[in-house]
Symmetry: none
Subunit: 193 residues, 4 copies
Amino acid sequence: MKRDKPKYKQIIDAAVIAIAENGYHQAQISKIAKQAGVADGTIYLYFKNKEDILISVFQEKMGVFVESLQEIIKNGESSTDKLSQMIDNHFNVLANDRHLATVTQLELRQSNKDLRLKINSILKEYLKLLDEILIEGMFKGEFNSTMDVRIARQMVFGTIDETITSWVMNEFRYDLIETAPKVRHMLLNGLKG
Amino acid sequence: MKRDKPKYKQIIDAAVIAIAENGYHQAQISKIAKQAGVADGTIYLYFKNKEDILISVFQEKMGVFVESLQEIIKNGESSTDKLSQMIDNHFNVLANDRHLATVTQLELRQSNKDLRLKINSILKEYLKLLDEILIEGMFKGEFNSTMDVRIARQMVFGTIDETITSWVMNEFRYDLIETAPKVRHMLLNGLKG
Amino acid sequence: MKRDKPKYKQIIDAAVIAIAENGYHQAQISKIAKQAGVADGTIYLYFKNKEDILISVFQEKMGVFVESLQEIIKNGESSTDKLSQMIDNHFNVLANDRHLATVTQLELRQSNKDLRLKINSILKEYLKLLDEILIEGMFKGEFNSTMDVRIARQMVFGTIDETITSWVMNEFRYDLIETAPKVRHMLLNGLKG
Amino acid sequence: MKRDKPKYKQIIDAAVIAIAENGYHQAQISKIAKQAGVADGTIYLYFKNKEDILISVFQEKMGVFVESLQEIIKNGESSTDKLSQMIDNHFNVLANDRHLATVTQLELRQSNKDLRLKINSILKEYLKLLDEILIEGMFKGEFNSTMDVRIARQMVFGTIDETITSWVMNEFRYDLIETAPKVRHMLLNGLKG
DNA sequence: TATGAATGAGTTTTCATTCAT
DNA sequence: TATGAATGAAAACTCATTCAT
């Protein structure tokens, strides 16, 4: 399996750095290869084309979020607790990897519609887990049982996304982690009403 | 003033259509010129370069939102009412112009970081008005007076943005306007808590 | 019409020279453009892509053969006379343009199967005229009236083609024109038998 | 001697199949190696480079023609008989190996001028035997004793070559063997005149 | 002998912008 | 003002060949 070989991850990580430092359109294959310490052609032994690298970046990194969230769902106490943990986790991961935050919040969005649709379908898995939490909470009476789940999900994800994007656009000038409890508090109010 | 001449608006509108129909990267100057019914070179009598067109598109169209919002602030009764009207207005305008919705929610985000930063600074005016409503509401006791305004703003804007983007990505398959009251309800709960 | 503009023919002629002097695979667009005295991009205002240039080269140049042959058919006396003139004309044109001879006999045959099929369909027009002469001659009793036209055509064309290709491969070391009467004589014998 | 080892012929045969099935430019070393059941690197233990494989393909396969022709010359009765047998043999071999026919008549001609010159020098041995037959025939009075041998040879070979190439280009749609007697008849007429 | 992972040179095409008319 | 022909820079990808094992 290609994705188990060391060079696979090596190239993925190089891509994140190259994109974060040079911008999406300036992250040429040659720059990614140089950053990874391999020849240009080597990239194509592990990835079909440039788009394949970008999708894989998203897939690999998103995988971390999905796995954490599955863990949280398994071990969390109440729905409220699970949602809180999810928010905290999302903030924590990106607060601790600014390269990755730049890539997911800013750079990867410059990709064309086609690539963005693929990225979105990867995102869906994460959002489905979020839906699970919301539905469970409605059922248990922790959240407003009459709310529209899709809109609730869009509020939760939209708020998290906008918060983090602003932080990146403001060049990490403030402490992202500190804002997490406030975001959590506000969202939970929205869901409970 | 260039922007009062008929061809200025003509080119702006042509750009929105060209981008919506062809996608950001396939909306070449020649296509915009053709759509506008002018020669390629003529574009450069009204705009410095391609980026200038895109910024102007955003500026002109955003202007409509800002003006409506100023009107709403002037005439709205309570802060709650103003916020509700703002949300409804935002949804209404884009629900009624799918070309514009496609361009602002999907296509223009493919622009490079530089352009997106400029677009963001245009957006600031709109967000400042939103902040006004929020602060007034906190002061009047309609919203939670201890909340962090920045985060509140990010929740309101992030939720609206995510909601509309999803609608565009789902190819307008459902009625956007119908979701407005639910979004409004949920956000107000978040702000009141 | 693009092919009436001076630059169209200018580029075609530049392509013949560039290919003859550098070889098919070494005749890059940049070399053709330089030879034509235009910018690389200008090529694409007149031709869809590189293959389009090569097809057009063949089409334009083959056109000369077809026109001459039509003239010969119109004015020639007997079928024997027409065939003789056709052979002489074919030899004369290429003997007087060694660049062209190199391109048609050697270089253009390096093109891929796809391009060669297109070239062949252009050639068909010429071969159809040759068939006309042969059929007329069979009818009039000048040629063997029981022969297989396809094979007769293949003999005539195959012999001419092989003769000229050998001359090119031998780097024009002997006088091609001098061989024409001998070729003519031998072919007519074959057809008469 | 390398060419006596089993893998040598194995690779040659694999090359013919790979080229016939994929086309000249799509027959990469890796495909030939795969077809031969060896690793890419192994190819280079038997051949200097890719060109060397192609030359060897032609050499080995042409060898069959040369040997048959030598046999024919040794055992044939008259010159006319020898020439007839040569034509029949040439048609028979290729009619019975369509892969080989595709490779020699179409694909190998896409090679660059350099390689084609080398291929031509291999062909010379075959053409020299053909010359022998022609000269003997002229001497014996079976063929026109005043004809130019080079042109006669070019007629014979050009006709055969064109006939077979057309058959391949027409995707083997008709029976090649059936045309042999007609070709033979027509050529002999040409030579006798 | 045999392997196959790694290398890196090389070219077509697009399109924003200019400028002579 | 308006035109549109001409410009030329810039980047992804392929594949023959090598060499450590």
